[in-house]
């Protein structure tokens, strides 16, 4: 291997500082010592009883296995063959991004969701939330009946009761308010509009718990039209983001990730590599991918944007009368450089901002306008519908409710009692509204207070449509008969309007009237409809929205506000978002892409801030507004020390502490040492929504003047990242090499103009331990992971869990290092707080050619296949765990328990092609061998060879960034074999010659050579 010292990367501060107790604790595969009883029922007695048991079982073999029934169809549907999977195109509704997806149906039930590769907006990706939304279908806590006053009722009775009340409201001119999240379905939107038209006083109020209303308001000011631009990251060569986590949670992350990746492909001819600068206060996954990341307090964003706008205006020759600007908090030269870069990429740059201050968003528009980005990287003629909320109208509604002026309130898709700042006040106001009906799938804080609950179907049970961006209309179709007596919103409204109609008919009618005339390719509506249902979407020539030319009047310079000791930043997590998915065990157990903590939210502090408060990870702190200290509006959360965060910021995730998470109290194996997954209040995490501020017509997610006090309590965090380090133990360190080059990176100039990257760490064939007597002549499956493309979004982790029946273990087991995820994404840091680099490394079984696990298995339960797979045979495994101990990559998982699926309904989501493992056996990534076998069988039937790309592993399929490539490395034409030869490819721990079948492509940082690592050629 190379003599030079690679850039040091570390997983957590303890590892960086090589603290002895950390290395000691993380050294062993199993965190707890194995206790061997020294007296009593010892080894000999055990062997004797075991012998007896075997003999008895053999004899007992005379008895027959239980009788199994095989029940065929009476009349077989033409298109269904039992045991064969079918895919139906649909549209995800995990958030309002409306990504295209495919539903895998086996024997008439959906078992897996995948991205729709033909979808023009999302291009085949599906995020973690989309993947996990399958469990929502098989959720035993769902409403299976409509409810009236907390009791199950029938739709007829509910309709009668509500229409009678509505009649009275109409007569009395009572105010009707329909409160929803952004509705991306044009048909549902039209239906709500039609319903409200039947009332003299009615309004549709839209808000998003993760609001972007300031962007819409700003465009109203600058372009005369309240709209959300369609951001085109793929067209941008310079991307500057101010606190917008567009790869993680902001507006449409799957689409943006695909587009961002398309613009950052150093292997393309010619190479494309956008420059990405991120200004942010906390560490987001978007920031972790940035070429330049600048820590900035939330109150400084407006100031920095003003400075940037002033520089660009000077270049553009736009006269501004901005005098007496506050000095920039960051070096002038750096801002000059950034302005120069942006100016050089006029029309090919993009500035986005996640701040909820309208004036800041106006500045952002101004910058994009100066750069000529409107019409290029921001499409406002065909805008997006992914966020429609108007917080101003929400504020008006809250006022009305407070004054008791609302006669009827309908809520759909939002949980205002939980996700609004004044939730309790809202709840109290709700009690004064005569008619409250909630359209929801499962009991939440709001539906508990609603007089009527209109049980809504899961996305996979009903027809729907979606228009995420103008011109791309998607369809959702049912993939299973509804599991309960549920009814979609549009059908319910049709019934209340006295014209009951099915969602299917409503959709078809509107499509025939509105969508069909917008296209020319199909002559008949039926043909158009059939194709749209088949594809899941239709691209149409929609009318362009009318916008005015840029209004300078709206633009005002901003000064920074006075700094406070701590400001609170509230952010959504990739898994839970605003909390609507808090019922979902897969998402609760998903390690956060940056902190790697599962099952809890926490107060993120920078290392310096933690030092200042003398707290460490797990210490509980109390957060309260300094102005209202002691008023009771406070939350207590454990500390997480987050490198790269701004020193004056404490960041807390939203979406936790909801009623939906009460079900997780006893999740995980029940044994005598088991601890509850939930906190003292019986919920997972704490709700931070009371700290959101509804001010100046916008929901604000940062608060200045927060007091942070150490309570003295402790709550350890179930963080997976400090478990199982592959750092070198002190005593084994080689002289001069104190870090293994696990993460490798290069810079764009080096990659383009330097020598070929070389294959450092590749196998050292001179020290071959094994004779070459196993020629690999057939397939040899291999994978390449492009770490430059990977954003750490963790969609693959959930996709793997869904595909491979990976159990959920609960917080306590996570704390005991007993995570069962076959796939993890290791997150590494390098550098100091101000210039920290982050690397995401998806890690699965490396399917080593010389697998250390295989040599130690006493029962040959893990052996090599002819096709290069490291096979794990569950029924042969006796659970010695030697293999896990000997695995250098720490990718093996042991079933400490039968992770009972007590929720039998949830078992419907199990993949019938993958065994459910029992207690006492080892398991690990199989490269989705069931998919390999299926593709081989299908190819064999057609008499062909397996085509390159015909096999897609679950992680690869869902990856929005297409960071994973799988194929046959023995086929010289396959993509994977070519990528393995690429200069960027390297093997992790390659110096040991394990010959892993997974290659990693180096991260490429778009920065000058001197800034990057020393080249390891």
């Amino acid at each position: 291997m190379s003599e030079s010292n690679p850039k040091p990367y570390w997983k957590c501060p303890e590892e960086r500082d090589a603290q002895e107790n950390f290395l000691e604790a993380a050294r062993d595969e199993f965190s707890e010592p194995v206790v061997v009883p020294t007296n009593g029922f010892g080894r000999r007695n055990f062997l004797k009883s075991a012998g007896f048991a075997v003999a008895a079982a053999t004899l007992a073999g005379c008895s027959r296995a239980p009788v199994e029934k095989a029940i065929p169809f009476l009349v077989q549907p033409e298109e269904i063959i039992p045991g064969k999977a079918y895919f139906y195109a649909s549209t995800c509704d995990g958030c309002s991004a409306a990504c295209g997806m495919l539903v895998k149906n086996r024997d008439s039930r959906p078992i897996k969701l995948e991205g729709n590769p033909e979808h023009p907006v999302t291009r085949g990706g599906l995020c973690a939330v989309g993947q996990a939304s399958l469990l929502g279908l098989y959720d035993s806590s769902r409403y299976l009946q409509p409810q009236a006053q907390g009791k199950p009722t029938t739709w007829d009775e509910l309709d009668r009761a509500i229409t009678a009340q509505l009649l009275a409201i109409r007569a009395n001119k009572g105010a009707v308010r329909f409160l929803t999240g952004s509705i991306v379905s044009p048909t549902t939107r039209a239906q709500v509009r039609a319903f409200l038209k039947t009332f003299p006083v009615a309004r549709h109020v839209v808000y998003d718990p993760l609001s972007s209303s300031a962007i819409l308001d700003a465009h109203e000011g600058t372009h005369g039209s309240r709209l959300l631009p369609h951001y085109r990251f793929e067209r941008a060569e310079v991307i500057v983001s101010f606190d917008a986590d567009f790869l993680g949670t902001w507006i449409s992350p799957v689409e943006f990730t695909a587009a961002y990746r398309a613009g950052r492909n150093p292997d393309a001819q010619p190479p494309r590599m956008s420059y990405h600068a991120q200004f942010e206060s906390r560490m987001s996954i978007t920031g972790s991918k940035a070429d330049r990341r600048i820590r900035i307090a939330p109150n400084e964003i407006g100031l920095v944007m003003t400075q940037l706008a002033q520089r660009l205006a000077a270049k553009a020759g736009t006269k501004l009368n901005w005098n007496g600007l506050t000095a920039s908090p960051m070096p002038e030269k750096e801002l000059d450089d950034l302005a120069a870069r942006l100016w050089a990429a006029r029309g090919k740059s993009l500035v986005v901002c996640g701040e909820q201050e309208v004036a800041v968003q106006v500045l952002c528009n101004f910058i994009n306008h100066l750069l000529g980005n409107y019409g290029a990287t921001l499409d406002i003629e065909k805008p997006s519908f992914q966020r429609q909320g108007s917080d101003r109208e929400l504020a008006a509604l809250v006022e009305e409710l407070r004054a008791g002026k609302v006669a009827a309130l309908f809520t759909s898709g939002v949980n205002p009692v939980f996700d609004l700042p004044a939730g309790e006040e809202f709840a109290a106001a709700l009690k004064r509204v005569p008619l409250v009906a909630s359209f929801t799938e499962r009991p939440d804080e709001t539906s508990a207070l609603a007089g009527y609950v209109c049980a809504a179907p899961h996305r996979l049970e009903s027809w729907d449509d979606a228009e995420a961006v103008v011109g791309v209309v998607s369809l959702a179709q049912p993939a299973i008969r509804p599991l309960g007596n549920v009814r979609p919103l549009m059908e319910t409204l049709a019934a209340w309007m006295g014209a009951p109609k099915s969602a299917y008919d409503l959709l078809r009618e509107r499509w025939q009237k509105d969508v069909f005339p917008q296209q020319k390719s199909e002559k008949s509506f039926q043909a158009f409809w059939d194709r749209s249902v088949h594809d899941g979407f239709a691209v149409v020539e929609a009318e362009k929205s009318r916008v005015q030319s840029f209004q300078m009047a709206a633009v005002q310079p901003l000064a920074g506000t006075k700094p406070s000791a701590f400001s609170l930043v509230l952010y959504p997590k990739v898994g839970l978002l605003d909390g609507r998915h808090a019922y979902n065990p897969w998402l609760q157990e998903l390690p956060d892409p940056v902190t790697k903590v599962t099952w809890d939210n926490y107060a993120c502090l920078s290392p310096a801030a933690a030092k200042r408060l003398s707290v460490i990870e797990g210490d509980v702190v109390r957060l309260e507004l300094a102005s209202a200290a002691g008023s009771g509006n406070s939350i207590e959360l454990p500390v997480y020390v987050q490198p790269g965060q701004h020193d004056s910021v404490v960041a807390v995730a939203l979406g936790y502490g909801s009623k939906l998470s009460e079900r997780f109290k006893h999740i995980g194996p029940s044994w005598f040492l088991a601890k509850l997954t939930t906190g003292d209040d019986g919920r997972v995490g704490k709700n931070a929504a009371p700290f959101v501020e509804l001010r100046d017509g916008a929901l604000h997610y940062s608060r200045a003047d927060i007091r942070v006090t150490h309570t003295g309590g402790r709550r350890p965090l179930a963080c997976t990242q400090s478990q199982n380090t592959i750092a070198v133990p002190k005593n084994l360190e080689l002289p001069g090499v104190n870090r293994r080059p696990i993460v490798q990176e290069t810079t764009l100039p080096v990659l383009l103009h330097g020598e070929a990257g070389g294959h450092e760490g590749q196998s050292n064939a001179a020290h071959e331990m094994w004779p070459a007597d196993h020629p690999s002549t057939g397939h040899h499956w291999a994978m390449v992971v492009d770490m430059n493309a990977c954003t750490g979004c963790s969609a693959c982790v959930v996709a793997c869990q869904a595909e491979n029946n990976v159990p959920v273990v609960g917080r306590d087991e996570m704390l005991r290092h007993r995570s069962m995820h076959w796939m993890r994404i290791d997150r590494y840091y390098s550098g100091e707080d101000d210039a920290i680099d982050v690397a995401h490394q998806p890690f699965m079984c490396q399917q080593c050619g010389h697998a250390p696990c295989e040599t130690v298995c006493p029962v040959l339960a893990t052996v090599h296949s002819e096709e290069g797979l490291n096979q794990q045979i569950y029924n042969r495994c006796v659970g010695t765990r030697y293999c896990a101990n000997n695995c250098p990559y720490k990718t093996r998982r042991f079933n400490w328990f039968d992770y009972l699926h007590d929720d039998t309904l949830q078992n419907m989501a199990l993949n019938p092609d993958v065994a459910v493992r029992t207690r006492g056996v080892m398991e690990k990534c199989t490269f989705c061998v069931q998919r390999i076998q299926a593709a081989k069988i299908e190819a064999k039937q057609r008499g062909e060879k397996v085509a390159d790309g015909a096999i897609q592993t679950a992680c690869q399929q869902t990856c929005p960034a297409q960071a994973i490539v799988f194929g046959d490395r023995n086929d010289p034409k396959s993509r994977v074999s070519q990528l393995l030869k690429s200069g960027r490819n390297y093997a992790v721990l390659g110096e040991f010659n394990f010959q892993p079948s997974v290659g990693y492509l180096k991260i490429v940082r778009n920065r000058a050579e001197s800034e990057g690592e020393k080249h390891n050629g």
């Binding site: 007896f52 004899l59 073999g61 029940i71 009476l74 797979l869 092609d913 064999k940």
Partner: protein
């Protein structure tokens, strides 16, 4: 001392178990081995008649074998392709026809008691018209060939390679009631795969996998 008593108890227990269970010595086999299993079925369906005498191809009814992992048991609608016409053994119908001619009356429809079960399942009356007073009830066949859950078996590659159904299922065309012919053990599978790799199937060279992960995942 305690351990010796323990040993004695175990030995005695073992002897008793042997005495109790080893009576029908001929039927001793390893756990999970269901060779010779011949459960009664809800309808006395005769493979000897259908596959043997009538020579109906296996894939006519078990068409899933070439398109799916499961060969499948045919839907009742598949049975009705023939049994819409054939309501009883042909001999019985002919005898009734002859009798009716002799007695100068229209022949009575005859439905054999076993085929009637099929009509009952579909809620059809004797004239094969839907009987609204009855609910259709799927037929609950008893599964004969059952593999453990940790084995993945797929019919498709075997059918594609040209393996005769009888290779695994025995001479079904001679069986009145289906009986498990092979022991369906792993050795039995693997030996066949090895043989096939040596000798080919029907004169054609094949590549039958002997990797663990061909079946276990």
């Amino acid at each position: 001392m305690g351990t010796r008593i323990f040993t004695v108890i175990l030995m005695v227990a073992l002897v008793f178990t042997v005495a109790l269970l080893a009576g029908p010595l001929g039927s001793i086999h390893l756990p999970g081995n269901q060779q010779g299993y011949e459960p009664p079925q809800p309808i006395n369906f005769s493979h000897r008649l259908h596959a043997g005498e009538m020579q109906i191809a296996c894939l006519y009814c078990h068409s899933g074998a070439q398109s799916s992992r499961h060969a499948g048991i045919p839907a009742a609608s598949v049975c009705m392709n023939c049994h819409r016409v054939v309501t009883a053994p042909i001999g019985v119908i002919r005898a009734e026809d002859a009798q009716a001619e002799k007695e100068k009356r229209p022949p009575q429809p005859i439905v054999s008691p076993e085929i009637k079960k099929l009509y009952d399942a579909l809620a059809l009356n004797n004239k094969l018209q839907p009987d609204p007073t009855h609910q259709p009830q799927p037929i609950q066949w008893t599964k004969v060939h059952s593999l453990p859950d940790f084995v993945y078996f797929d019919h498709r590659p075997h059918v594609t390679a040209g393996v005769d159904c009888q290779t695994c299922h025995g001479a079904v065309e001679n069986m009145e009631r289906v009986k498990q012919a092979g022991d369906l053990s792993m050795g039995w599978c693997v030996n066949c795969h090895r043989d096939a790799n040596r000798t080919g199937i029907a004169g054609k060279a094949v590549k039958a996998p002997v990797d663990c992960s061909a079946c276990h995942y």
